[in-house]
């Protein structure tokens, strides 16, 4: 039974994909939160009046949900953490990212059914026939049974029932059962109950996991600051625990607080200098803050400790290029291409090669690369954007415009295609479309100076009419 459970064990701390349906619930306190206290403002920072603390979106690309790209793919970074349901629904439906995540329960359900399929003789335990009352009394049986129900069978209802009975049997004294109750409630979306259970478990026995769980709950309730304070509590108890620091770093990242985030990741590295996530995130940050040489060092370190994949090679190639070590660039990209297993990766690599070709003014090569990127991933908005620009430059206005429009429709979170479109329209004299595009560009990125300039020009012109 334990072996079956272990097969499907997912660390609950890592696994939580916010579902679309979760956005419908009213657990968050304020609909219009104060700046810096909520994760639900995707582009909080560039639009903040206080001025951006991190790199601007002009420097750092965004994920589809409008969050600056991070150094590492996690379960949560892919999900649509839009402000509202409308936004979530509006996100472009491309083949891969930003799948309008169905509810979390649906996702877990799939995990569960997958495990069922793998056992040909039907389920290992007939859950419906269990007498939970009996098993709850025996601690030795209840725990493995619970874990089996929770992870393998994925029957949260039954698991909750068992946990509740076992908790009664242990008279609320056993932190283990309190945590399990909390986990069940968490899965079922009853965050307040989960919080209560976690808190009482913490009273009995502080554990690293419990701190992580409770910070997770607070994040879900959209109270990142409370989550951070809980994690800080945890750090006073377990000062050497990289997981707690890492969780804090992720929250700061969610808040677009890059400075704090980087500090936390550095702290993680001090505690555990083989932490891949921390290295990758710091490297990405250096890269986007114009220090590719330093970033290169971090990526090299990743390669040395055995992370060999196409993404690393691509990143190293890019860092080399930007730090003017041209001899390595081609070799890195060749390696990356031979490492890549998925079409998405290949399309990204080709896009980056195309980017480099653009910088070296190899327009033809660039076009070929972007086209290859589109062959592998037909939804590559950035490639469409760049192709559009190149075509515009070659005076193929119609084609260029079509590419830009495709990019706009594929990536409503990017301001670049909007701005480019506006500019080209402006040059061609189609002021109305230009105005429309520039407005949406400014909506996405308020402080973009070039957009502003065109906008001002246009408003002046319209006023004169």
């Amino acid at each position: 039974m334990r072996a079956l459970t272990e097969q499907l064990y997912v660390d609950e701390v890592e696994a939580a994909d916010d579902g679309l349906a979760d956005l419908l619930d009213e657990n968050a306190f304020a609909n219009i939160p104060l700046p810096g206290t909520s994760m639900r403002q995707p582009t909080a920072n560039p639009n903040a009046t206080a001025g951006p603390t991190g790199p601007s979106p002009a420097m750092r690309p965004m994920t589809q949900s409008g969050r600056p790209i991070t150094g590492m793919i996690r379960l949560n970074t892919q999900s649509t953490q839009g402000k509202s349901v409308e936004n979530a629904l509006k996100t472009a439906r491309t083949s891969t990212a930003a799948r309008p995540v169905t509810t979390s329960t649906g996702r877990f359900m799939r995990l569960g059914t997958a495990s069922m399929l793998s056992s040909p003789d039907g389920p290992f335990i007939q859950v419906a026939r269990l007498n939970f009352q009996k098993y709850a009394k025996s601690q030795a049986l209840a725990r493995p049974l619970f874990e089996h129900l929770f992870y393998h069978v994925n029957d949260i209802g039954s698991a909750l029932q068992l946990a509740r009975l076992a908790n009664e049997a242990t008279e609320n004294k056993d932190w283990y059962w309190l945590v399990q109750l909390g986990k069940c409630y968490h899965r079922l979306g009853m965050f307040r109950d989960a919080e209560k259970n976690y808190l009482s478990a913490l009273d009995i026995q502080p554990m690293v996991d419990i701190y992580l769980y409770i910070s997770k709950v607070y994040t879900r309730l959209d109270q990142p600051l409370l989550a951070i304070s809980k994690l800080t509590d945890g750090l006073t108890k377990f000062p050497q625990e990289p997981f707690l620091v890492q969780a804090m770093a992720r929250i700061y990242e969610g808040l677009n607080d890059t400075i704090n985030c980087m500090n936390q990741y550095r702290h993680v590295l001090k505690l555990d200098n083989t932490n891949v996530e921390a290295i990758a995130c710091i490297a990405a940050n250096y890269f986007y803050t114009d220090q590719p040489e330093i970033s290169l060092k971090f990526y090299r370190r990743l390669l040395q400790i055995g992370c060999v994949n196409s993404a690393i090679f691509t990143n190293i190639g890019l860092c080399c290029f930007y730090s003017q070590q041209f001899d390595m660039v081609i070799a890195c990209f060749l390696k990356a291409l031979s490492c890549a297993n998925e079409d998405i990766e290949r399309s990204d690599i080709w896009f980056n090669i195309g980017e480099i070709a653009l910088y070296t003014t190899e327009v033809n090569l660039a076009i070929q690369c972007f086209r290859l990127a589109l062959v592998y991933n037909n939804d590559h908005a950035e490639a469409y954007n760049n192709l559009g620009l190149v075509e515009l430059q070659r005076n193929n206005t119609d084609i260029g415009r079509a590419y830009l429009q495709t990019a706009q429709s594929l990536a409503p979170h990017m301001f670049e295609p909007q701005y480019n479109y506006a500019k080209s329209m402006h040059q061609q004299g189609d002021l109305q479309s230009s105005f429309r595009a520039i407005k949406s560009s400014l909506e996405l990125y308020k402080n973009h100076a070039d957009s502003k300039q065109i906008f001002d020009e246009l408003t002046k012109m319209f006023a004169e009419l």
Partner: protein, 826 residues
């Protein structure tokens, strides 16, 4: 994830096809020879003792197993669970080997018989004593149970064996001193001896670690835990670490490592991001102020930790199941590991980088000139491909596509009809037409679309040819009727698209006319008057007449180009307006139902929300019959939707009728005033026969607006007729309900009247061109008229070509109502 590799100092493979687990390796010194020996016992029951000796780098690397390293290999005929080394014999201070079999515990002594030369040395295993166990054994530990009471006691070590079901046997040398069972234990877990309190640390199967007092000799009571600590997961291993003044207990769980002091308080814990396989604690001689331990993982990494910090990570070749720290050949701190399949290795920590397998890229040297040539060639090809007319969008194309349609002489003998949406006993007749495409040059991505008007359908309606050369391509398309609606048109549009983005379309005509419409059963009869040159159409519905009249005109004029048509009757307004009324009513009804569905679904959502709140509430409250309400609302919505579907179908039907009728009206208007083709086109766009119900703006609104405009501008009687007056007052409201149908009808009538009086739509001079019924100079001269209607008459003046009637394959039915109002213009 590690930067460096652990360097291998010595290795060998113990046995083939033998398996090992935790407990199967021990390192110890048995006699004066200070070199440590490695004792390995396999599950197959073979005990091996190695004496590791480092070979020079120069010696042959391929040989890993040296015969002289293996001191002893002996099969003990029963699988070995655990090996322990200690002072287990009361009479000796030397270390002995205790071996735990599944039903037996044996203690052996290793003896050496020195020979004349080095090779002559012989090792032998002598059985000292053994205990038979009545339960299957799980593991064992050694310790000074009962405490070190005297000096002599320091040297002795007892053995505690745990059975699979949690019974402890303590053996003091040859004597079994105690048997105790652990309460509430189903499956045994790792155990360990705590010297300070003479207690055993035992992890029970339920995942919490308990400390059990096991006072060696005197205890007669049940075994009770001294303290217990709940770690919430199952423990893999327990070890003791002795720091300066205290012992601490380290417990390796599946996902965390816990460090407790010997009172059961948590000192620290450490969460893993990897799967641990085993661990070991060790002490260093100097600076002994922290807990040091090494964790082996399933990701083949050794983590060397001090307290809760990782100090070093080293990559190893195999997943270790057990680690040992030993001093071999005077080298301290050698790490000895055993893998599941018997790879015994001794490591030390070095700074060899991990040789990760880099992806291979073709590293053959490139000849620059060759490559350049190849590149040029490729680029030329790419350029060609990009400019290839057949590949890329080309603005000026002179490719000509010809579509020729070959009509079969008769309909299919077997009906090919499919997906018919009405019931009829007869098979639906179908017609297969051969379509041939011919292109003047090679084109690509040729797509043939066949579009026909709703009740008629074609299969396949989309044919993709891929690429096409100069040779023609032929395909077959079948037509049949799908719905029981009155066909508005028998036109079929064949559109060919290919990669030049030009569209060429040609219309193929095919026809099938009978006196009775298939499906609807609408009857039409055409009667030719014997005395006068008139045709007379009779039908029970205005819409039915359209096709027949259209074809009659077409055929008559094709046989005789000088034929002239006339229509002298007043337009059949009343029938036409009936259809309009009906159409309008249905539309309003649709909208009403839509609104009701809207209200109902709002109610449904509201109930859902309240129910959800009730269920989420901590204190369960009554449902207040909300569930019943929810169900009822749901039923209501479903019923409404069904009704809507029905109405919509009717509306669809009615739209067709309206479309037919409008076409007929237009036709009549045209022939009654001899309209020019331009006028006809305008007329068709003003009083449009295209009825679209899917938009917000329906036919009525559209026609109303365009009529108003037409009446105000081109047909205006005022002097400003030429100017374009914006149709400001026209109701452009989108709402269906805002249209006044009676006004619309009036407008239609007025419009038709004015046209009949000769107003022209095209020319700005709207002088009454009343008399001017001849000679559209740029047209095929066709004069004479047909007049028709529900109670209508067709006049046929010039050429009495009655035989034309025969061309219509029809079932002429007896006239329902006879009308005598023949227009006697002749």
């Amino acid at each position: 994830m590690s930067l460096f590799k652990a360097r291998e100092w010595w290795s060998c493979k113990a046995g083939t096809d033998e398996t090992y687990d935790y407990g199967c390796i021990k390192v110890g010194i048995f006699n004066e020879d200070t070199n440590s020996k490695i004792v390995v016992g396999s599950h197959s029951g073979v005990l091996r003792i190695y004496n590791p000796i480092h070979r020079d780098e120069l010696s042959d690397k391929s040989i890993t197993n040296y015969a002289s390293d293996l001191l002893l290999e002996k099969s003990l005929n029963s699988s070995i669970i655990q090996v322990e080394i200690g002072k287990f014999v009361s009479t000796s201070t030397l270390d002995h080997i205790a071996i735990l079999f599944s039903q037996k515990l044996s203690v052996f002594q290793l003896t050496e018989q020195s020979g004349v030369t080095e090779h002559g040395r012989q090792y032998e295993l002598e059985l000292n004593y053994e205990h038979n166990l009545n339960r299957p054994a799980f593991n064992m530990c050694k310790g000074q149970f009962g405490g070190g009471k005297s000096k002599r006691d320091d040297a002795r070590e007892y053995i505690c064996v745990q059975s699979v079901d949690g019974v402890l046997f303590v053996f003091e040398f040859e004597r079994n001193s105690m048997v105790k069972s652990i309460p509430g234990c189903y499956l045994a877990g790792p155990i360990c001896y705590l010297p300070r309190y003479q207690t055993l640390a035992i992890s029970s199967d339920q995942g919490d670690k308990r400390d059990l007092e096991a006072s060696g000799t005197t205890s007669s009571r049940r075994v009770l835990p001294e303290w217990s600590f709940n770690i919430g997961e199952s423990a893999l291993s327990i070890k003791i670490s002795k720091t300066k003044n205290a012992y601490s207990i380290l417990c390796l769980g599946e996902r965390n490592l816990f460090c407790l002091n010997d009172h059961g308080q948590l000192l620290f814990m450490k969460k893993f991001e990897y799967n641990p396989s085993t661990f070991i604690t060790y002490e260093t001689d100097q600076n002994n102020d922290g807990i040091r331990y090494i964790i082996g993982t399933h990701s083949r990494t050794l983590f060397i930790n001090h307290d809760s910090n990782i100090k070093w990570a080293a990559h190893v070749e195999q997943v270790p199941v057990q680690l040992e720290i030993c001093t071999i050949q005077g080298i301290r701190g050698m790490i000895c590991s055993l893998s599941e399949f018997g790879d015994v290795q001794c490591y030390y920590l070095g700074t060899d980088p991990v040789s990760t397998t880099m992806p291979l890229t073709s590293s053959s040297r490139i000849d620059v000139s060759d490559a350049e040539q190849g590149l040029m060639k490729l680029q030329k090809e790419i350029k060609l491909a990009m400019n290839d007319p057949s590949l890329v969008v080309k603005r000026k194309s002179n490719a000509k596509m010809t579509i020729s349609v070959e009509m079969p002489s008769e309909k299919n003998s077997f009906s090919m009809a499919d997906e018919i949406q009405f019931q009829d006993s007869d098979p639906v007749p179908s017609l297969t037409v051969k379509v041939q495409l011919r292109s003047s040059e090679a084109v690509q991505n040729v797509l043939l679309n066949i579009h026909c008007h709703t009740p008629i359908c074609a299969k396949p309606n989309e044919i993709r040819f891929g690429s096409m050369g100069i040779s023609p391509v032929q395909t077959e398309v079948t037509f049949w009727m799908k719905d029981d609606l009155t066909p508005t048109s028998l036109d079929v549009t064949l559109t060919v698209t290919f990669n030049t983005s030009d569209k060429l379309s040609e219309n193929g005509q095919n026809n099938l006319i009978s006196g009775r419409y298939f499906g609807t059963g609408g009857n039409v009869s055409v009667m030719a008057s014997k005395s006068s040159q008139k045709y007379r159409f009779q039908s029970d519905s205005l819409a039915n007449i359209w096709l027949f009249s259209q074809f009659l005109i077409e055929r008559l004029s094709s046989t005789n180009s000088s034929i002239e048509f006339e229509y002298g009757e007043p337009l059949p307004y009343s029938d036409y307006f009936e259809i309009i009324d009906r159409h309008y009513e249905l539309r309003i009804e649709c909208e009403k139902i839509n609104e009701m569905i809207d209200v109902c679904s709002k109610q449904f959502r509201a109930i859902q929300k309240r129910l959800l709140n009730k269920f989420k509430d901590k204190t369960p409250t009554l449902l207040d019959n909300l569930d019943v309400l929810l169900e009822n609302t749901h039923h209501q919505i479903v019923a409404l939707a069904d009704h809507y579907e029905q109405i919509h179908l009717e509306l669809h039907n009615c739209s067709h009728q309206l479309s037919c009728a409008t076409k007929l009206i237009n036709l009549l208007l045209k022939i009654s005033v001899n309209m020019s083709n331009d006028d006809e086109r305008l007329l068709n766009s003003i009083l449009t026969p295209i009825v679209n119900d899917d938009n917000e703006q329906g036919w009525e609104e559209y026609v109303d607006a365009s009529l108003t405009f037409a009446l105000r501008t081109m047909l205006s009687r005022s002097s400003t007729k030429g100017d374009l007056i914006p149709a400001s007052s026209a109701t452009f409201n989108n709402s269906t309900l805002n249209i006044d149908v009676t006004k619309l009808k009036k407008r239609i009538q007025m419009f038709c009247d004015r046209l009949e009086k000769g107003a022209s739509l095209t020319s700005n001079s709207s002088s009454v061109t009343f008399e001017e019924k001849n000679h559209d100079d740029h047209q095929v001269p066709k004069k004479k008229n047909i007049i028709n209607g529900v109670k209508p008459v067709v006049q046929h003046r010039d050429v009495p070509s009655y035989d034309n009637n025969d061309q219509m394959e029809n079932k002429l039915l007896p006239m329902n109502e006879q009308h005598s109002d023949y227009d006697d213009e002749t």
